[in-house]
Amino acid sequence: MTSVSSPENSDPVKRQMTAPTGLALLWYRFKTSFATPRPYMMVGGIFLWLFVYWLLCEGLRLDRFDKIPGPLAVAKDMFSPTPFQGISIFTGEYYNHIFVSCRRILIAFTLATGIGVPLGLFMGWSKKVRDYTFPILETLRPIPILAWVPLAILMFPGFEGPVIFLATLASLFVTTLNTMLGVQSIDESYFRAAGCLGSSNWDIFKNVVVPGALPYVFTGLQISIGVAWFSLVAAEMVSGDHGLGYLIVDSYMNNVTVPMVIGMITLGFVGWFTSVIVRMVGNWLMQWHVKALALQGR
């Protein structure tokens, strides 16, 4: 309760009534955190490191560091309508790379979720299904995604096919296994209670298996989208056409280093942003989970 006790909620009855919603809680934490020195230290920390970065690459121009574009050079090009090295936030090409990568991630992630979640649910629920599918999954899983590149190029024609296949494969493993673990983590007494109350198998699947596994599913999806980006970048670097991974490796080949760094920054940002979206969707679907956690002060 500690995290939601503000003056206007001091009346105990009222405090019960205004249980924190996800957004209110976020805003409350945001407000309180600015009363502490933490956010200022964090911002200070980031500027400190930016300064160190600048000092090494542009200030002192140390050996080897001088080959890496410094923060000023990157910022100058990134925010210039006429970038020196071709890529800035004013060029259409920049957005084209982002768009291509995001579209691939969207397709791969949707495919992996669409296949992985149902598969994982059935694997967790039915021992028979698990016995037959789990060994195959476990045999294929240790093979790094990049090792699939040649086969992917062979099996799928064009540029898009192999890249999407690799990203899908990577997130499929994560999603399936986490969903399976999620079903297995459901307390036996929920199944028993549902049985007692006269549920059919379909009722149990709908009302126990799916909602019970949901927290794990979304943990899995968060990891899975990270893995999808990881594989996507790798695939784009090896066999791509357009996309942020391609931008990075293409800039390297053409000896233009600023777009390379811009690509890295953008990747970090877009990757972070997609995982935030996944988390928000998860919290929205799992109000019960969010509220229970909030009352535990987490």
Binding site: S189, R192, G195, C196, L197, N207, W288, H289, A292
Partner: protein
């Protein structure tokens, strides 16, 4: 507290719930004859229940007392149909639940379980939890079931909390809601597995009064597992003391304290005599169980 109790009592008699018990005995006579259960984990036979027999009359509150991990829950699970028995038979109102040729009882809404750690679905609000049984059994339409659930929650003093998730209310309220969820199905027997185990003494006494009030209203047969002797005598018509693993009946004690019982009954002379009698029977078993030092069975 007193105010609240009297309020629910008035509601209780006025409520249509009373029509469930229109004077005639509802049934719910449970007969356990020579039941044994042997687990076989990892090839090491563990005998959890050995030749246990007891008779429970319809409408009786029967308390099972024994040391932790002695196999009481195994017995309950056999009645509820969560797992099979090795030998013996269990009948409900003369109908065979499990016995020769039918090792495992079918799960059904005539025997409702309230679980040790609580098994309200955390992803459903209290009212959705209560309405779940009638809906999946297709006994009521969804709006009917929800209306009835709100009404029954209000009778139990939870009227304002129907739209909360179990994670948002206190454990006492959650447990009370779980009993309501069981009662809405009009079971013949209520099986309670140490439902108040994790509660402090004060909450426990409130829960006891509330359970007695519910019992007086419905006269449902109650099969209650506990290792709290005071609880056993305060609530029960009969106290069955069972031995440590393997569990079998050691002694049956009739509780002669008249109903309705109140908190004052606890200080009566009779109560102290009964307490001493039960204590004598159970203490020896508790020492044996402690010295065996076995880990509790699930």
């Amino acid at each position: 507290m007193n105010e609240f109790m009297s309020k629910t009592k008035v509601n209780g008699t006025a409520a249509p719930h009373a029509q469930i018990n229109n004077g005639a005995p509802m049934g719910g006579a449970l007969s356990i004859k020579h039941v044994s259960k042997i687990y076989d984990p990892e090839g090491v036979n563990v005998c959890a229940v050995d030749d246990c027999s007891m008779e429970i009359a319809a409408g009786e509150v029967c308390m099972i007392v024994g040391p932790s991990g002695c196999g009481k829950t195994t017995l309950l699970n056999a009645i509820a149909g969560f797992h099979s028995i090795t030998s013996g038979e269990i009948t409900l109102d003369g109908d065979l639940l499990c016995g020769p040729g039918k090792p495992k009882a079918a799960q059904g809404a005539d025997r409702m379980v309230v679980f040790q750690n609580g098994a309200l679905f955390p992803w459903k609000t209290l009212v959705e939890n209560v309405a779940y049984g009638p809906i999946v059994q297709r006994r009521m339409s969804k709006p009917e079931a929800l209306e009835k659930s709100y009404q029954m929650l209000a009778e139990a003093g939870l009227g304002d909390f129907g739209d909360k998730y179990p994670g948002e209310v206190s454990s006492g309220m959650a447990r009370r809601a779980e009993i309501v969820r069981a009662l809405i199905n009009e079971p013949k027997v209520l099986l309670l597995d140490e439902p108040y185990r994790a509660m402090d003494a004060l909450t426990k006494s409130i829960m006891h009064e509330s359970l007695l009030e519910t019992y007086d209203r419905t006269k449902v047969t109650i099969f209650f597992i506990t290792h709290d002797l005071e609880e056993a005598i305060f609530l029960g018509d009969k106290v069955h003391v069972v031995t440590t693993r393997p569990c079998s009946l050691k002694k049956t004690i009739d509780v002669t304290i008249p109903r309705p019982r109140t908190y004052e009954s606890l200080s009566s002379e009779n109560f102290r005599h009964l307490m001493a009698e039960v204590n004598e029977a159970v203490h020896e078993e508790a020492v044996k169980a402690f010295q065996a030092g076995e880990r509790e069975l699930a």
